[in-house]
Symmetry: C2
Subunit: 241 residues, 2 copies
DNA sequence: GTATTTGTGCCACTTGAGTAGCATTGTTTA
DNA sequence: TAAACAATGCTACTCAAGTGGCACAAATAC
């Protein structure tokens, strides 16, 4: 499955969009990429982090990968990050070299570039001017996690659902990206809830004309309405106090 | 309030224990410390992050500082990190240079070493061999956040409370550190709950002899029992599925 | 083409966490 | 020392979220 860097260069736009690789000079960029090779994983492949990821670092070229935790008790799942093109993992292992007790699963057929973790560390040590890129990326991820914590603790399920939908519309269109074709169960995992509850609230949103639903498909019908509902939820909560 | 580095050297053990400064060579260490100055904040001083912290980076010498978020709606609080001696902040701003929408409040009279964020960045750029320290620390914090997310989403309040207590006993003793003198309200903020609910569960733990409670004081009476209760909770939850 | 699996929609039901309120008891301050 | 304040202990109540179950539809496998 190994390929030469020349072939890799066709992914330039994807890679330049990756937080770790943007604004690199051509020399560093090429040297780094020469250490990568391409891998393809079929849909729904699942790995425990420590087995494999511990030794490689990946950048996604196409397809989606979810990083999630499983409740050791009930088997409930929580999706921490839904990774897509230009995202990379596992940042945790890269940062501190420890195991990371999470699972990864491909949601589509996925193409990645892989590099041995040790190679990447070596390259960083040799080109320390690129550390700030990594720091930036780490900061970004930490902010996402922090927002997740406060959302789960402050915000109720219907509001979290609306926020999820709004966050995933592309630009000013009504087009849902990334999550439009997920089953209710996966949507529930993204906001820390359950299939039945998410379905209940999706039905409410459908009934008021904000969205349309079919099997493995959610479509935004009225983004403005969703935004108004969000404001309303915030108002209602504060009014009650 | 400025002091010379000679005075600072008396804090060596505290500073060497700080994740950012351990295993530095003496030269880098001294050069870095020379840029710091000491500050003292009275008890219960509260700052919004972006006003002040944006420009300085702090290492705590003594006393506790909580980093927390406030629900814009209800005014509910969530304590994200309870920082103490050898901890530092704000890591988020240091990493990516952006504002960080959190509050900081001193819980005790607090002594810190402060350094302008720009100085620290400059020092890092000049001594890039020390970036890995920072990466390590960032990784550690991310893991804490990730654990927080999954705890809030998977684990019920009584269990989170027991985990908080166990996590804060010093060594093998029964001594609660860091949180032993907090009011119920602050304990609630630490696990994402409310005063009344936390009190309810603390009473239960008291009634079965695991802890003793008085005003602004929680004491472990039977650590073994707490650990057994924790196992029991995990068992009960999984048994129900 | 049939069987099986996967996802949906919707019911009735349970429950843990949050809320409101208040009396009581320490602690601080004037 | 009195008054104000802060923290606690408890009660009764509400409600959102989760649970269990089932019929039905769509997709997939055989």
């Amino acid at each position: 499955m190994k390929r030469e860097p020349e072939n890799i260069s066709k992914y330039d736009t994807i890679l330049r969009n990756c937080d770790l690789l943007n604004n690199l000079d051509t020399a560093s960029y090429k040297e780094l990429l020469s250490r990568f090779h391409e891998e393809i994983w079929p849909k729904n492949t699942c790995f425990l982090n420590k087995e494999k990821w511990f030794h490689n670092f990946y950048i996604i070229l196409s397809g989606r990968v979810k990083m999630y935790r499983v409740d050791p008790r009930g088997g409930k799942e929580l999706t921490l990050f839904l990774l897509t093109r230009s995202d990379s993992f596992d940042l945790f292992c890269l940062l501190d070299g420890c195991e990371h007790p999470v699972f990864y699963q491909s949601i589509d057929r996925v193409k990645v570039l892989a590099v041995p973790m040790a190679d990447l560390r070596e390259w960083l040590a040799k080109n320390p001017q690129h550390y700030p890129n990594l720091l930036n990326y780490a900061g970004k991820q930490m902010r996402l996690l922090e927002n997740f914590v406060s959302d789960i603790s402050f915000v109720d399920i219907p509001t979290r659902l609306i926020k999820l939908l709004i966050r995933n519309v592309k630009g000013d269109s009504n087009n849902l990206e990334l999550i439009h074709d997920l089953p209710n169960k996966e949507i529930a995992n993204l906001i820390g809830s359950t299939r039945a509850v998410v379905n209940r609230h999706l039905q409410n949103l459908r009934k008021c004309g904000a969205i349309e639903i079919s099997r493995n498909h959610v479509e935004i019908k009225n983004l403005r309405l969703l935004q108004r509902l969000l404001k309303l939820q915030e108002f209602r909560s504060s009014g009650q106090k």
